[in-house]
């Protein structure tokens, strides 16, 4: 199996706190990251009794400023009026409207196809926020709260800490984690294994539990992308569903709990996952 060759590194590394030597040695390969979110497995964490774990993991991973959600669990209505849940990270569009309109090149694609923001260059004009058709971008309207010691952190667009006033923020597909062979925090934290990280160059994807051939998985499960008609070519795919794999009834009216901020979860720079894990 072709996919099997690369997958163990991803799975193995995803569960470790340190990147494995194995994944490092492979990092010269230019990946082309995609996310696949299997909505059949996403029940908005309503059956777990917890707030959406992807959002909370994201909050502590990035010390996401209060009031922002880089990945947001949307409550969608299907055509029959029933609900399903759709986690919405940044779509990492190949034809990204935000990158196109940025006047200073602060929004850009890295070599792995991830849309990053250089917060040291952003002028805060918010043209990218007007241009993003997914509402994936958020803004530091005031001075965002940073964890103690963050001001001395080694800022890089792949790991934007500390957060800066007057700049635009968004999901950056955990570029700092994927570089080290780890799954994005949301995929890692999803108790239902609904989020797969895929690589277009190897045509493989994994949720940390199983490995699938990306193209086959997308084709066989009628995968779709959000607002496909706009031609933005998102790198985030969805498999339609309503959490049925975990027994969620489509008529279930329960809604997700409000995710807690990193402060509430007690995250610090030394112990990013706080008392939570």
């Amino acid at each position: 199996m072709v996919a099997g060759l690369a997958a163990p590194a991803l799975i193995g590394a995803g569960g470790l706190s340190q990147p494995s030597a194995d994944s490092r040695s492979r990092s010269t390969r230019r990946r082309q990251w995609v996310l696949v979110i299997d909505l059949r497995k996403c029940e908005g964490c309503v059956t777990t009794g917890k707030p959406p774990q992807c959002v909370e993991a994201c909050n502590v991973e990035h010390f996401v400023p209060r009031g922002q959600e880089w990945i947001r669990v949307l409550e969608m209505k299907d055509l029959t009026g029933h609900t399903y849940f759709l986690p919405r990270p940044c779509m990492q569009c190949e034809n990204a409207p935000c990158v196109r309109v940025c006047p200073v090149g602060a929004s850009y694609h890295n070599e792995e196809g991830v849309v990053l923001i250089d917060h040291r260059r952003c002028i805060g004009c918010r043209l990218c926020m007007a241009a993003c058709p997914y509402g994936a971008r958020v803004f530091n309207w005031g001075q965002p709260e940073n964890p103690p010691g963050a001001l001395f952190a080694d800022y890089r667009p792949e790991y934007p800490v500390p957060h800066l006033k007057g700049t635009v923020e968004k999901c950056m597909l955990c570029a700092h984690r994927t570089q080290n062979g780890k799954l994005p925090a949301c995929a890692q934290a999803c108790p239902m294994f609904a989020i797969y990280l895929g690589d277009l160059t190897e045509d493989v994807a994994t949720n940390g539990k199983e490995v699938v051939q990306l193209s086959t998985f997308l084709a066989e499960n009628h995968a779709f992308r959000l607002r496909e008609e706009l031609g933005t070519r998102p790198r985030v795919w969805y498999v339609p569903g309503h959490g049925q794999e975990y027994g969620r009834d489509v008529r279930d009216t329960r809604t997700p709990k409000k995710p807690r901020s990193w402060q509430e979860l007690g995250a610090t720079l030394e112990n990013p996952h706080g008392g939570h894990q």
């Binding site: 969608m76 260059r121 002028i123 918010r126 958020v138 007057g166």
Partner: protein, 445 residues
């Protein structure tokens, strides 16, 4: 025009430059206070961040960007209208041109200010130069608006030279040495020689031809800030011409407003007659009707299909949250002024003044309706409508920017004649209209 009449006109036009009344200083102080309040509000915003505004992640632009579009529209008043009237040889424009050109410069200064006020990181403004990307519509504005500002300032200055020379020659001993030196410097050694007149004529013609396309470009690139996105209501091919016509409408109305005020203050009743108001009123009505037509065409083609997000936007705008702004703005700003300007019973000076104010109130509302609802509209159904309520800071900065606009004109009026003396006197008029056809004026020459 007889020599005595010349002296009378000169006295009228130059009097405010030589001597100022207490009312002038009171007005100046008032403007400074209001402008200062805006500056203070902005400093607070600078310190605490844009969190002091009502803008949030859904509605990312508000009053500031509305003002930006509005002021850019006002800037059309001048140069473009004045250039068009010059080029078509409309003689009745003569007492107006200076004022029109000045209001362009004043409006453009505020146009340029607004995006800076709106920036999250104004301290990084030079990044636009260091890292500027031509692909971004913002860069188009950055290139065009300063060009328009410089061209308009030059245009204003060129036709000011002969009048500055008069100030230089006649105000000896009556103004401070500093001001005399300023006049002498700005007059560029103007003696009214025929070569000088020829040079001025040539330069004026060139600037006239340059300024018109720059004006069109300005309003186009302002519209493309919005038009280059996928937002419902903005994603429209009509936006550039729509904004150009809106600016012409707004600009002509501003001209009528200013003309009324100047006429009163300077006692220019003999020079700015009801005919001037009527002609400008006709122009305003014509632009208003084209604007109405564009509005109609834009909403009909999206509204007819009653589909998807466009239906939701139109419902929200015309019957929902924004209807309280839209209908008064539409009726009072687009329908009523046009009717008032064309009806024989109402096209009088005071009524036209009122109509011109209505137009710009309506156009300001229209700008707000262009900017905000499209941002508030949900990008995905799950988001729901965004809410935007401007804060006191934004109101203070907005009011301050209007004071700033008036301040530029007020201070200019103290230094230079706001009515062009040499152009208002037909005998000394030497250029441009001699050969050209007259648009609709001419009989008052």
């Amino acid at each position: 025009m007889s020599p005595t009449e010349h002296e009378r006109l000169k006295a009228l036009v130059f009097q405010p430059v030589i001597r100022s009344t207490p009312v002038y200083y009171l007005w100046l102080a008032f403007l400074l206070v209001v402008f200062g309040a805006g500056v203070l509000a902005y400093l607070n915003q600078l310190n605490r961040g844009l969190v002091v505004t009502g803008m949030r992640d859904a509605v990312v632009w508000g009053l500031y960007i509305s003002n930006f579009v509005f002021f850019s529209g006002l800037s059309m008043a001048g140069t473009f209208i004045s250039a068009i009237l010059r080029i078509t040889g409309a003689g009745w424009r003569r007492p107006l041109t200076r004022l029109a050109e000045l209001s362009t410069v004043a409006a453009l200064l505020m146009t340029a200010l607004m995006p800076v006020v709106d920036m999250g990181r104004p301290d990084r403004i030079l990044n636009l130069v260091r890292f500027g990307r031509l692909e971004s519509p913002l860069l188009w504005d950055l290139m065009v608006i300063p060009t328009y500002l410089v061209a308009s300032a030059l245009y204003l200055y060129l036709f000011l030279i002969p009048d500055v020379a008069v100030l230089r020659d006649e105000l000896k001993g009556r103004v401070s040495g500093l001001r005399r030196r300023l006049y002498s410097l700005l007059a560029l050694g103007w003696r009214g020689l025929s070569e000088q007149r020829q040079s001025l004529e040539w330069a004026g013609t060139v600037m006239m031809l340059v300024v018109i396309p720059i004006g069109v470009a300005t309003h186009s690139v302002v519209s493309w800030i919005f038009g280059m996105t996928f937002r419902v209501g903005w994603n429209s091919t009509i936006f550039a011409p729509y904004f150009v016509v809106g600016a012409l409408y707004s600009g002509t109305a501003l001209l009528i407003t200013l003309m009324f005020i100047i006429r009163r203050l300077y006692h220019l009743e003999d020079y700015l007659t009801e005919q001037h108001f009527r002609y400008l009123g006709y122009l305003m009505a014509a632009f208003g009707m084209v604007y109405f037509y564009f509005t109609f065409a834009e909403y009909l083609t999206t509204g007819y299909k009653l589909g998807g997000e466009e239906k939701d936007l139109l419902e929200e705008v015309f019957f929902g949250r924004y209807s309280r702004l839209v209908w008064p703005g539409f009726l009072a700003g687009q329908v009523l002024p046009v009717l008032l300007a064309v009806h024989p019973r109402t096209r009088t000076i005071p009524v036209l003044f009122g109509a011109s104010l209505l137009v710009n109130v309506g156009m300001w509302l229209k700008r707000f309706i262009i900017v905000v609802p499209s941002l508030a509209a949900p990008l995905l159904p799950a988001y729901g409508w965004g809410i935007y309520i401007p804060t006191l800071t934004e109101v203070a900065v907005t009011v301050g920017s209007f004071a700033g606009f008036a301040l530029v004109i007020t201070i200019f009026a103290k230094l230079f004649p706001i009515v062009s003396l040499w152009e208002t006197e037909p005998e000394r008029e030497l250029m441009v209209e001699t050969g050209g056809p007259s648009l609709m004026g001419g009989q008052d020459d």
